[in-house]
Symmetry: C2
Subunit: 130 residues, 2 copies
Amino acid sequence: MGVKRKTKSVELMLETFGQSKNALTVVDLVKRFEGKMNKTTVYRVLERLEDEGKLHSFTGKDGLKWVAKCHGCISSNHTDDHPHFQCNDCGISQCLSLDISIPKVANHKIESANFLFFGQCEQCLNSYSE
Amino acid sequence: MGVKRKTKSVELMLETFGQSKNALTVVDLVKRFEGKMNKTTVYRVLERLEDEGKLHSFTGKDGLKWVAKCHGCISSNHTDDHPHFQCNDCGISQCLSLDISIPKVANHKIESANFLFFGQCEQCLNSYSE
DNA sequence: TTTGTTAATGCACCTAAGTTGCATTATATT
DNA sequence: AATATAATGCAACTTAGGTGCATTAACAAA
């Protein structure tokens, strides 16, 4: 690959995430762009935007790949280990702007971490009291 | 399903984990038992042993399912959130007997968590200095 | 504006993890 | 030994994700 080109697919993908902290599964993105963007293109655009540090991804409990456009991340690069949250009720997933210290582990050198929290999101919590 | 029966598959599976804290991928287990136990049986035996609380599982970064026979776990049930470690060099994965406190997150109710650490294991660290 | 280069895309096909339905086998009970 | 049913094997399926290659679209140079 040589010089990157600006394409509609790339713009469309970034617009989709907008300013939201919510993550989306790749499967969902493929469905969303049905007719507009090929499945393969979705995967390749995501790969590119990850390489460029504009998106980041993580693996959910179900093994599915989730993607997000984390804005409030603490570190500047997208390899930082901010936690992600998944709602057990509605299934939404989002980035948490939260710094978790990685503990020392005897006889191990820890380089990175994945944190995944499960529970109820704000919306679902509120819907109980209505 | 009615009354559970003792079977060779179940014993064989538990023996495989022995007293080790190491986790194994289901894919690896299927390969290991090739000729002795069917792929479907592997999945079903694992499901059963998880239900019985004798094994527990987690999803790796690659989306593969890992299984372990965690002995040194802090809590008695197998839904506790002890962290898992995966070596970036040799790929082994293991349970960590380590208690990580789940932070409070504003407007969220957190019920459970997954912690996954990456780095170098003891063996790989030692092999550098040889 | 047109032309040439090549990055980006679409498409068809593939790979592999995990699941399901059903016939067969093995275990336990009487 | 006969019976009931849990456990297993097998084949076929589902689906996330990837690959090779022909076609299209973006951009630079003329």
